[in-house]
Symmetry: C2
DNA sequence: GGCCCAAGCGCAACCGGGTTGCATGAGGGA
DNA sequence: TCCCTCATGCAACCCGGTTGCGCTTGGGCC
């Protein structure tokens, strides 16, 4: 379709994005592939705002993006975390397990949020309760910011 | 002042609320004491909505409540947690330590959120990062709902 | 390759809670 | 009791999430 030069492609869509959509039995549309591309190539979870801005620039409507994200959540293609700033952040779900299977780290200096895929959340046992899932959030300095902070001394 | 019978008291204000305000060097006003009363007598963290509704019923303005909560946060009289529903919940800070020193439990059946004051958050050590604070959220069934769920079987 | 229809999209408008500016009123030290 | 500062209340704004509806399009079927 390629509405505007350099904006919407169909030819060079990321194979991986298309495959994810096919596996989830979802229609392959340009908005969805662009959204998945963004998420697949992001190192860290992206805020709804960041996604909106990037895709609106490409000519997509914010309602469409919003609905695509809802769809992805329903299919557990992505997971969503809420941080202290009350904004949602989205990331591709890598583990088969749905949702909160790993801690999330927020750097107070650069503000980036990182999925700590390799780290297990220590189990807590709570008298009388049935614990079904756990989430853990960490704050501090990421390696890059820590190094810069030390250099500044 | 006692504007309307049964609404705003000055005479019978909770001593504890007044003491908290005095200690924080904040002015003692009817809105603030009512708000603190509510929080002091709540077993669990209350949502901003719950607080607003209770206090608007008493004739206070939502902006005032909003600003009082901001003030309390600044003075660390209360702490605030964000749950998956992206709503804030407020609770009196009991530990001297500011903020997230204990896990929070959300019951998926009754929806209540509970501060687990007595439970420590297991420390996570993260290669290359400096961890400054941690938070943990648990979901499942609280003792009451667990019992009811078992009875229903 | 073309047809058709359910699903996806875009627009416009709504909604509700957080936030701000400003004029008025109240707390509390002098 | 007075007065200054801070708290309050009102109105309005802002912004992101959400919905309804008519148009468009992906993709299965012929």
């Amino acid at each position: 379709m390629q509405r505007v030069a350099g904006k919407r492609f169909t030819g060079e869509r990321d194979k991986q994005a298309v495959e994810i959509l096919r596996n989830a039995k979802l229609r392959v549309t340009s908005c969805r592939t662009s959204l998945l591309d963004l998420l697949l190539h992001a190192k860290d979870p992206l805020t709804q705002k960041e996604l909106m801005e990037a895709l609106e620039e490409q000519g997509f409507n914010r309602v469409t993006i919003y609905r695509a994200l809802q769809t992805f959540l329903d299919s557990t293609i992505v997971h969503r975390i809420v941080t202290e700033d009350r904004t949602w952040r989205f990331a591709i779900t890598h583990c088969g397990h749905r949702g909160h299977c790993h801690p999330h780290f927020t750097c107070r200096r650069c503000g980036r949020v990182r999925c700590l895929d390799g780290v297990a959340i220590p189990a807590v046992d709570l008298e009388g309760h049935r614990i079904e899932s756990q989430a853990m959030y960490l704050w501090g300095l990421c390696p890059a910011c820590l190094q810069e902070a030390e250099l500044a001394l």
